[in-house]
Assembly symmetry: C2
């Protein structure tokens, strides 16, 4: 099939551009059918493109920093890597975009330039809210999709229904789960549990989301009882970060335990390989980043503290999403999308 | 000082009454200055009281099950252990109540019979919402107070301010933290982060909560950067359960890692003691249970899947809270309480 062209942000994230460049090289080596549009400062991307056959440069003099106000930054830094990359997708100069930059700025720029799907409501076409989505490892040995992970702190019932439909499409297309089991994140699994808001979402999701099982709770991010956990961006983000925090806490406790005595230090050596595997599983580097669903293009957001492995996998995952037709599949999974 | 009298629910929780009875015995042995009012079926509590000098029986023919509708159960099962225990506190027949029963039923019965503090609003006295509170181990080697953990899925800004004041009093009185650092649970630590609701809470908490630092995020349940994390019962419950789920997931992964080969099995033996300590730290048994703040009495709720150790520690913790004057301290820490 024809090449997929992924735009990669050389200055996205907290690490030096060299980390991103090394990640791009690794991705190019792993997949001969991708091309990369490297976006960033002229002196970096031009040199890199000159040295690599399948790389083209997109010069971006501005950088949006992690602590910039997202919407203001997107409006004023029109020549930033994030804005130019999103415009490149719109113009058809790239099929997908990967950056480890600010989630807020990525969401704002993608909404403005990659543009969301629209649905008919109140006599006019409204934009779909982009839904930040990723898959986390679970206790059943599989992956559980969490959406929204933080793009939309305040949402309406209809948004939650669309998040569920989009998350379900992601589970089908990206994870290959034929009939995803979808749960609504609440404070208990019983039907009557929840806040006034989730209680209003429940019947709407039951009516419009295939595979809707009912309420789930915080433990179900990792229980394996659900393939898709649906939440507003506030609850989803809190659940995700509480999970990350708990993993960090436990790994620190383990580190202390392994240092306790000569015997435990020997134990650490004996189980070193397995511990490394567990840490890799938890790090998220293997997946590369979270995807913004609901847009007319593939936009993947990596973790700010990125790595060569994460950039490589994020770039490859972006290309895979294009090949799998994720954008079309997501659009088709939602009710009432008007093109 | 005079004895503290703790009412303990013999039929609360998923375990057999014998687990609770063993826990009471262990608590009586550990603290010679407590008396226990054992509430439950006549044949169990009368026999137990006859055999123990510092135990009195309170016969309760009804049992509220975990899957009963909480409010309906409290209204119809007037002779249940939970209702009779809460009425015993009101009548002055017990200083505190410990049960591993249904959180919903405990909250409903305590609100009805132990009665919450009241504040003046709109020309009349309104009841304070009870706030479910506990302390979780953090990465700094201390404890972080989480409130509300799930008693109130829907709250107002004023409720959040009171939760913060109550949680702060708990941190001072129970954990001995002189100036607790209080955070508002949001989707990021920056001031401008949050949902419309938490954005409305921010200035109110800044104005009325001593030690208010600002927003915190899910990772801060365990980061040690905050002594008190304040949330509505929905977000707080999601954060708590996501943390529990992540710990469960990681412990399962470790179990698998330790079983991988002969070498890792030897590692498991060498680090057995430390792993047991980590599990004990995570289990919550050492704290006995979560406390309902905002009431005119000490009400402690244990984990449904309780243990002898948890019942012992819950009973002792309830007595300690009485001795420390937690109820009066919480009342004094809140603005505008009218007695």
């Amino acid at each position: 099939m024809s090449n997929v062209r992924v735009c990669v942000d050389v200055v996205g994230g907290d690490e030096k551009p060299q980390v991103v460049l090394d990640g791009i090289e690794a991705a190019l080596a792993a997949d001969p059918d991708i091309e990369v549009l490297a976006v960033g400062p002229a002196e970096i991307v031009n040199l890199f493109a000159a040295a690599h056959a399948r790389v083209e440069a997109l010069e971006a003099p501005d950088i949006i920093a992690m602590d910039d106000d997202p919407i203001r930054a997107v409006m004023t830094k029109r020549k930033s890597s994030i804005v130019l990359a999103c415009r490149a997708i719109k113009k058809g100069n790239a099929d997908a975009f990967f950056s480890a930059g600010s989630t807020g700025a990525m969401t704002a720029a993608a909404t403005a330039y990659v543009t969301p799907f629209r649905y008919q409501a109140e006599g006019k076409k409204q934009p779909v809210r982009p839904c930040l989505t990723n898959a986390l490892p679970n206790r059943a040995g599989g992956l559980t999709v969490l959406c929204d992970m933080g793009a939309n702190p305040d949402v309406e019932v209809d948004d939650m229904v669309r998040f569920a439909q989009m998350g379900s499409a992601y589970a089908r297309v990206v994870l290959g789960i034929e009939h995803p089991r979808v749960g609504l994140l609440a404070n208990g699994t019983e039907d009557e549990k929840g806040s006034n808001f989730t209680k209003a979402c429940f019947p709407a999701m039951k009516a419009a989301v295939p595979g809707f099982v009912g309420n789930c709770e915080g433990t179900d991010l990792t229980s394996g009882n659900f393939d898709v956990v649906v939440a507003d961006g506030m609850s989803g983000n809190i659940a995700l970060k509480a999970t990350e925090g708990a993993a960090k806490f436990l790994l620190q406790e383990l580190k202390g335990a392994f240092m306790a005595s000569l015997g435990t230090k020997i134990a650490a050596l004996l189980i070193k390989k397995q511990m490394r595997e567990i840490k890799a599983k938890l790090s998220g580097d293997a997946k590369g980043g979270a995807i913004l669903l609901g847009l007319r293009g593939v936009v993947l957001i990596g973790h700010g503290a990125t790595s060569v492995e994460a950039v490589k996998n994020g770039t490859l995952a972006a290309a895979e999403a294009v090949r799998a037709g994720l954008v079309e599949n997501v659009a088709n999974s939602m009710d009432g999308i008007v093109l």
